[in-house]
C-alpha cells in the first residue's frame, strides 16, 4: 500500500461550539508540510472513515516562517505550521489551536492581545515626522548585530502560548513584548520613551510575573534571545523603580 500520513485535527465551528476531533489520511508526498497537508484536505475534505467534512480553517500567509500567521499546537508543541515538515513529525500528527487565546474557528485563534501590548509599551521610534531630516543616528555594527535579531520577532505568540505564567490570572504581557521594549530602549531615538515603556512593565501583568521557566526561548521559531531580553529589561525596570523613589 502507498505510504500515507495521518492527521488528528481538533475542530471547533465557532468560539462557543464544543471542540471535536477529526482524522484525515493523506497520500504521502516528498517535502510535504502541515500547511500543504491542510491544502490537500481542502481539495478533498473527507475524513479517514469516509465522512464528508469541510476544509480546515487556519491562519496562514507567507508560508516561509516570516509573517507569523500559522502558529498552532503541532503534536502538543507551539510552532509554525509552514515549517513543520511532515517527515520530521511523529504520526498521527495532532493539530490543535493555541490553548491560551480565544478560538475563532478550528485552528485559527485571536492573537490581537500582542498588538495591544505593543501599543501599551509604545513599541516605536518617536520620529519628528516623515519629511526629509537627514540621515539617522550612526550605529556601531556591534549594536546593529544585537538589535537585528530582536527585530526579527514575527509576533507568532509561540512564546506566550508556551509560558506557564501567561494566563488570565497573571495577565502577564509575555516575552515578545518585553523583548521589543529592549529593542526600542536600545535605539538612540527610541530611548526617549524608555521610562514610559518601563513603567508600562511595572505592576500586575508586568515583567515581575516572569517565572524564568525558559519555555519561551525554547519554542521561539526565530531563536530570539528572549530570556536575555527579559533579564536585561528586568534590570532596567529595577533601576527605574529606584529612580522613581527619588524623583517622585
Amino acid at each position: 500500500m502507498a505510504k500515507t500520513v495521518i492527521f488528528k485535527i481538533k475542530r471547533q465551528a465557532n468560539p462557543d461550539a464544543k471542540p471535536v476531533w477529526e482524522e484525515f489520511e493523506l497520500p504521502w508526498k516528498p517535502g510535504m508540510n502541515v500547511i500543504s497537508s491542510l491544502m490537500d484536505i481542502a481539495l478533498n475534505p473527507v475524513t479517514r472513515d469516509g465522512k464528508k467534512s469541510t476544509p480546515i480553517t487556519y491562519d496562514s500567509n507567507c508560508l516561509e516562517e516570516v509573517c507569523g500567521s500559522c502558529a498552532m499546537l503541532i503534536n502538543g508543541k507551539a510552532r509554525m505550521a509552514c515549517s513543520a515538515l511532515v517527515d520530521k513529525l511523529e504520526q498521527p500528527i495532532r493539530l490543535e489551536p493555541f490553548s491560551k487565546f480565544p478560538v475563532v474557528r478550528d485552528l485559527a485563534v485571536d492573537r490581537s492581545v500582542l498588538f495591544e501590548n505593543l501599543k501599551a509599551v509604545k513599541a516605536w521610534v518617536p520620529v519628528d515626522g516623515t519629511y526629509d531630516l537627514g540621515s539617522g543616528p550612526r550605529m556601531a555594527p556591534e549594536l546593529q548585530e544585537e538589535m537585528y535579531p530582536l527585530s526579527r520577532c514575527i509576533s507568532c505568540c509561540c512564546c506566550m502560548e508556551a509560558c506557564p505564567q501567561f494566563n488570565d490570572s497573571t495577565g502577564f504581557v509575555g516575552a515578545a513584548t518585553i523583548s521589543q521594549v529592549r529593542l526600542f530602549n536600545e535605539h538612540e531615538t527610541g530611548k526617549a520613551l524608555k521610562s514610559e515603556r518601563l513603567h508600562a512593565l511595572m505592576g500586575d501583568g508586568g515583567i515581575q510575573e516572569c517565572g524564568y521557566a525558559q519555555n519561551c526561548v525554547e519554542v521561539c521559531p526565530k531563536d530570539i534571545p528572549l530570556t536575555k531580553s527579559i533579564s536585561n529589561v528586568a534590570g532596567q525596570v529595577m533601576k527605574q523603580a529606584v529612580k522613581d523613589i527619588f524623583t517622585r
Binding site: 476544509p55 496562514s60 500567509n61 505593543l118 520620529v127 531615538t189
Partner: protein, 593 residues
C-alpha cells in the same frame, strides 16, 4: 470640501502603510483595511534590500544612474517621469527608514552598508540581513500603531475588500467589504480610496507570493471599470525553491554577495555537487554575460536557466533545477549578511547552504502590470488611487531587484498626499443610494455562491488555473498556447458557475472567501493571457520565440485592458509611453551599457 477628510486605504503592506502615515501626518483620518493583521502582510517576504543611489561606497553612483538602470532594466516600457521621481526621492526615503529604526547593516564606521543587486554595476542596495522587507514593514507598522494610539488611524484587520462604491457620476465614494469572521457585508464611505493590495501570485497557483496575493481586489475594480495596465508583464524570479505549497524565494542578494549559478557540464552527471571539479562546472551566466555575470536582471537569468534546462538538457539530475552556490564564501560573512534566507533553505529543504550548493529553479514572483494610474497615482475612476505592486508604474517590462520596496514606499508617499488633496477639493456625494445598491449586489453574489449546489470543487479549479498559467504564460510564450490558455480560462469560468462549497457555514468560512477570490482570479487571468497574446514582440519578461526582438515601432506602448460587461471579457486600448528623458536603446547585458 472636507477640511479633515477621511481616506480609506486598502492593504497594509509597505505601500498601504506609507500612504497611511502620510495621510495621518496631514491630519486626515485613515480607515485601514487588511485581510491579515498588517504586520503579517506580504511585504515581510522581501529579502535582499532596497535601492537608493546614496553613493556611500565612492563609486560615483547617482540618482540618474539609478533611473537609467531602472528604465533600461524595464526594457523601455515604463513611463519615465515617475521613475525619475522615485530615484530622486529614494535616498531621502532611506534616511527616513533609518531614522525610524530599521536595523540596516552597518559599515565599521557605523553608516549604512550597501550591496550590489541585479541589473546594475553599483552597490546601491541597503539591507537588513536578508529580511529587509520584514524590517521595513515593521518600522512602518510601528509608526502606524503610534497613529492608531492617537486615534488618527482606525484599523479594520480581518476585513476583505469586495468592491468600490461608485456613484452615478463615476466617482468613488467608498468601499464594500466583508468581515472575515462574521461574514457581514458592509459599506464604508470615504472622501477618497487608495488601493495597496499587492501582487497576484495565486493566479499562477504556486508562486513566491503569500496566500493573500490573489489580485482579487484589482480584478474586482477592473470589472467595475478600472483600467488594468501591462497585465502581461509577469516576473519569474530565477532562484526559488520548489515546494508542495509554494515556491520559496531565494533572494538575489545571494548572488549580490557572490553566489554563483552553475550546472555540471556533462548532462546527467550523478556526482555530488561538491565533488565536481571547477573545470567541469558550467557557470553559464558568467560565460554568457561577462560584464554582469550572475547579476544580470531577473528576466535574463530566468531565460538562461530555462535554456540550460529545456534546450541544453543540463538540469541537475535531468530535472528542472540548477545550482546556486555560496559554499566558497566564509560562514561568518554568510551569517551576517544572508542568515534569513539560509535559514529558509535549511528549514524547508533540510540542507545547509553554507556546506552544499542550493538547488533552485525559476518561480513566478511579481507583476509589473497592475491598475492603471496617472502620474498622481489616481486610477481612471475619480477618487480611487492605487500604489505599490498593485499599480503598473515604475518597473516597465521587468523589475530590477530591490526596486520593489522603494516603489511601494514611494507610491504610498505619493498616493497618500494626493488623495488628501483631492478629497479636500472634491464635491460631496449625492445621497447614499449607491452604497445600498453595492451592498445588495455583493450580498446577492454571496447568497448565490453559498446556495450553489453544483459538482465543482473550487480548489480543483484553482489548481488547474495555476497549472495552465504557469505552463503557458510565464517564461516562454507562444500565441498558440496563449489561445489555448484563454479557452481553458473560459472553460474554468463556466465550471465556476457549477461550484459547490462543502462548507456553507456563515462564520469564518475561509473556503467561501477563497471561492469569491477565485472568480476574480479567473477574470484577471484572461487580461494577462490576452495581453500576452496581443503583444507580438519580446520585451523584458515578455518573451515570444516567434517574435524574438523588441519592436519599438509597434509595441512601445502601455497595454490598457478594460472590462466589457456585455461580452464578459477584456477589451484593450494602447497608450504611448513617456520617453521624454532617456531615448530608447537596445538592451544587452554582456557588455557595460
Amino acid at each position: 470640501m472636507a477640511a479633515n477628510p477621511k481616506i480609506i486605504v486598502v492593504g497594509g503592506g509597505l505601500a498601504g502603510l506609507s500612504a497611511t502615515i502620510k495621510i495621518a501626518e496631514m491630519s486626515a483620518h485613515v480607515d485601514l483595511f487588511s485581510i491579515v493583521p498588517v504586520k503579517r502582510s506580504h511585504s515581510v517576504c522581501a529579502q535582499g534590500g532596497i535601492n537608493a543611489a546614496k553613493n556611500l561606497k565612492g563609486e560615483g553612483d547617482t540618482t540618474w544612474k539609478h533611473f537609467d538602470d531602472t528604465i533600461y532594466g524595464g526594457d523601455f516600457l515604463a513611463n519615465q517621469s515617475p521613475v525619475k521621481d522615485m530615484c530622486d526621492q529614494a535616498p531621502g526615503i532611506i534616511d527616513l527608514l533609518d531614522r525610524m529604526g530599521v536595523p540596516f547593516n552597518r559599515t565599521p564606521e557605523g553608516i549604512l552598508d550597501f550591496r550590489r543587486f541585479g541589473g546594475t554595476l553599483y552597490n546601491r542596495t541597503a539591507f537588513a540581513g536578508a529580511t529587509t522587507g520584514q524590517q521595513l514593514l515593521y518600522a512602518l507598522d510601528e509608526q502606524v500603531r503610534r497613529f492608531e494610539s492617537d486615534k488618527k488611524v482606525t484599523k479594520y484587520e480581518g476585513w476583505e475588500f469586495l468592491s468600490a462604491v461608485i456613484d452615478s457620476k463615476k466617482i468613488c465614494r467608498g468601499i464594500c467589504a466583508i468581515d472575515l469572521r462574521t461574514m457581514e457585508v458592509r459599506t464604508f464611505p470615504a472622501d477618497a480610496v487608495i488601493m495597496a493590495t499587492g501582487g497576484i501570485g495565486a493566479i499562477f497557483g504556486k508562486s513566491t507570493n503569500s496566500v493573500v496575493c490573489t489580485g482579487s481586489s484589482q480584478s474586482a475594480l477592473y470589472q467595475q471599470g478600472a483600467y488594468y495596465a501591462n497585465g502581461e508583464m509577469i516576473q519569474v524570479h530565477p532562484t526559488s525553491i520548489p515546494g508542495e505549497d509554494k515556491l520559496r524565494l531565494m533572494s538575489e542578494s545571494a548572488r549580490g554577495e557572490g553566489g554563483r549559478v552553475w550546472v555540471p557540464r556533462t548532462p546527467g552527471d550523478k556526482r555530488e555537487a561538491r565533488s565536481i571539479p571547477e573545470s567541469e562546472r558550467y557557470y553559464f551566466l558568467e560565460e554568457w554575460y561577462p560584464k554582469y555575470g550572475n547579476l544580470v536582471p531577473r528576466d535574463v537569468a530566468t531565460r538562461a536557466i530555462h535554456k540550460i534546462v529545456h534546450e541544453e538538457h543540463l538540469g541537475i539530475d535531468g530535472q528542472a533545477m540548477v545550482y546556486l552556490d555560496l559554499t566558497h564564501i566564509d560562514r561568518e560573512t554568510l551569517n551576517r549578511k544572508l542568515e534569513g534566507i539560509l535559514e529558509i533553505y535549511e528549514k524547508f529543504v533540510g540542507d545547509d547552504p553554507r556546506d552544499v550548493p542550493m538547488k533552485i529553479f525559476p518561480g513566478m514572483h511579481y507583476t509589473m502590470g497592475g491598475l492603471w494610474v496617472d502620474f498622481n497615482q489616481q486610477t481612471n475612476i475619480t477618487g480611487l488611487f492605487a500604489c505599490g505592486e498593485c499599480d503598473y508604474t515604475i518597473h516597465g517590462a521587468n523589475r530590477l531587484g530591490a526596486n520593489s520596496l522603494m516603489s511601494c514606499i514611494f507610491g504610498g508617499f505619493r498616493a497618500g498626499p494626493n488623495a488628501v488633496q483631492y478629497a479636500r477639493s472634491s464635491s460631496a456625494a449625492d445621497g447614499n443610494g449607491s452604497f445600498d445598491a453595492e451592498r445588495k449586489r455583493q450580498e446577492d453574489l454571496n447568497q448565490r455562491l453559498i446556495s450553489s449546489d453544483g459538482t465543482e470543487n473550487p480548489f480543483q479549479i484553482w489548481r488547474e488555473l495555476g497549472e495552465v498559467m504557469s505552463k503557458n504564460v510565464t517564461v516562454v510564450r507562444y500565441n498558440k498556447s496563449l489561445k489555448e490558455t484563454d479557452a481553458k480560462l473560459v472553460e474554468l469560468l463556466e465550471r465556476y458557475q457549477k461550484v459547490n462549497l462543502s462548507d456553507k457555514s456563515k462564520w469564518a468560512n475561509t473556503s467561501f472567501v477563497f471561492t469569491r477570490q477565485l472568480f476574480n482570479m479567473l477574470q484577471l487571468a484572461r487580461v494577462i493571457t490576452q495581453g500576452a497574446a496581443m503583444r507580438d514582440e519580446s520585451r523584458g519578461s515578455h518573451y515570444k520565440p516567434d517574435f524574438p526582438e523588441r519592436d519599438d515601432q509597434n509595441w512601445m506602448k502601455t497595454t490598457k485592458a478594460y472590462f466589457a460587461p456585455d461580452a464578459d471579457e477584456p477589451r484593450f486600448d494602447f497608450e504611448p509611453i513617456d520617453i521624454s528623458l532617456i531615448p530608447p536603446r537596445p538592451r544587452r547585458y554582456d557588455v557595460a551599457k
